[in-house]
């Protein structure tokens, strides 16, 4: 199993470690998932995301090389700006979801899911290497997420960079945070304001300790993959491998907003155009359990007449809402607020209701 540079720190903190796609990762620390979830919603959570993949594209044709791989419009990025997107197969199926950062006109960075790194690297090398230099810097790169309503306040004392000037999906490539050379982006995966901080892998432990200390000062704490999952689900952010995979398209997954069919050419565009024209038959829907039960990945879904209608892709308790929620693919006609469905929870049919939009939305700061 692979270890992140923060492995020792997790053990020291008493984390419960699990195998996550070949990585030993903290699922939670001794306070537990719900405690970490609340700390992130109320103050700040510190997350080890060093396992994620960083692939750099460098050269005169770097923009073109990245653009052909992703559905969003890379051309609209300026230096210091990032965007969320997906990479597709020619079939329109999703290879991965990722963030593209424009460091300069000749240097782009993509951050991809850890479990997909080997696949993505091969796919990116195959399609982009004819156009530019492509390198996988994942092993040398540390990445820590600092997420929550108190993130800016708690982080500011550690850097001269005016964090308030950093807009959502903006980043600064070179700066100093807690005495460590770093890059910082106003991005995240929790539904809260927050930052993701890149540094050299060997600097990650020192940075982690300072961030944990800064978090503790405002009632925040380290948070594991368990809380990361409940937080992202409440915010209705999809998880690759659960809600997205090579058999689902971004149009089905509700990610039409990152698909620019009229922009530059990219792999999968024709298939997605055809799907849009024909009409999307199934949609990734959010639902809330109205009966007593918790939907889990893989549980079958039924319409109000009891007909098999799809499968749960993510599900669990929503600690902020005090409800049980889920995501799953359903026929497009069921994608309306209040549509009655039911979930087969291990042989027991439990009622649920379709919900539009995020389950949880943070208040305006």
């Amino acid at each position: 199993m692979q270890h992140t540079p923060l492995h020792e720190a997790h053990l020291r903190l008493g984390a419960k470690m699990v195998d996550f796609g070949g990585w030993a990762m903290p699922v939670s620390y001794p306070g537990g998932i719900i405690d970490e979830h609340r700390a992130t919603r109320q103050a700040v959570g510190v997350f080890d995301v060093c396992h994620m993949g960083e692939i750099h594209f460098r050269g005169e044709r770097a923009a073109e090389a990245v653009q052909q791989l992703v559905t969003n419009d890379v051309g609209k990025l300026s230096d210091g700006r990032a965007l969320y997107t997906v990479a597709c197969l020619p079939t329109g199926g999703i290879v991965d979801d990722l963030i593209v950062y424009r460091i300069s006109a000749t240097h782009y960075l993509t951050v991809v899911n850890a479990a997909n790194l080997v696949k993505d690297r091969a796919w990116f090398f195959e399609h982009a290497r004819p156009l530019c230099d492509v390198t996988d810097a994942s092993a040398e790169t540390g990445l820590i997420a600092f997420q929550g309503p108190g993130a800016k306040h708690a982080l500011q004392p550690l850097t001269k960079l005016p964090l308030g000037d950093l807009q959502s999906f903006a980043f600064v490539d070179r700066c100093e945070i807690a005495g460590v050379q770093a890059s910082i982006a106003r991005t995240g995966y929790t539904g809260e304001d927050g930052f993701e901080i890149f540094c050299a892998a060997e600097d990650a432990p020192a940075l982690w300790d300072r961030l944990v200390e800064a978090a503790a000062g405002i009632g925040g704490k380290p948070a594991g993959l368990g809380a990361r999952d409940t937080l992202r689900l409440e915010a209705r952010l999809p998880l690759y491998g659960n809600d997205l995979d090579e058999t689902t398209t971004p149009l089905e997954a509700g990610l039409g907003w990152v698909v620019k069919l009229d922009g530059a050419e990219f792999i999968g565009r024709e298939a997605l155009r055809a799907q849009k024209l024909a009409g999307v038959k199934r949609k990734l829907c959010g639902f809330e359990m109205t009966g007593r039960g918790i939907a889990r990945h893989g549980y079958p879904l039924f319409d109000s007449d009891g007909r098999p209608s799809g499968t749960t892709t993510s599900g669990g308790p929503a600690p902020t809402l005090g409800k049980n929620i889920g995501l799953g693919y359903l026929p497009a006609e069921l994608d309306r607020a209040g549509a009655h469905i039911s979930v087969d929870c291990r042989g027991k049919r439990v009622d649920a209701e379709v919900v539009k939009g995020p389950f949880y939305k943070r208040g305006k700061a």
Partner: protein, 136 residues
């Protein structure tokens, strides 16, 4: 591991349930729950599904389930018998299982049908030896 984590007066199973035996009017009653180890593995418990009073359970069969934030786990009966009491407050306060697994977090109480089934259960020392064997 301290004795408090695995009280000496309980019987244990390798599925991480415990049973507390008592005699009442000549009838052997067993109160049943899950161990501290099980609770630590589960994390925050958010829902407990239990059978009804009057139903019967069979040793080693599933009698209910516990949902934690991350996953659902089956509960296995340490002994056979008829359910005489269910800890119904758990349906509104599943956190009792985390906070106090051997007391407030108990799950069902049964009238023991087959006293000889007790021979197949572990005492606290044997259960802790079993946990050590498993690398825990």
């Amino acid at each position: 591991m301290s004795a408090q984590q695995y009280p000496d007066d309980l019987y244990y199973t390798k599925d991480h349930e415990w049973a507390r035996l008592e005699d009442r009017d000549g009838q052997k009653l067993a109160t049943i729950g899950v161990t501290r180890f099980a609770v630590d593995q589960l994390g925050d418990v958010t829902q407990v599904d239990l059978p009804k009073e009057g139903e019967t359970v069979k040793q080693a069969d599933v009698f209910g389930s516990v949902e934690s934030v991350k996953a659902v786990s089956d509960l296995f009966a340490p002994l056979s018998g008829k359910i005489v009491k269910v800890n119904s407050p758990l349906s509104d306060s599943p956190e009792y299982v985390n906070e106090d697994p051997y007391d407030e977090g108990w799950m069902i109480q049964i009238a023991v049908g087959e006293a000889k089934e007790l021979d197949g259960l572990l005492d606290a020392a044997a259960y802790q030896a079993f946990l050590r064997e498993q690398g825990e």
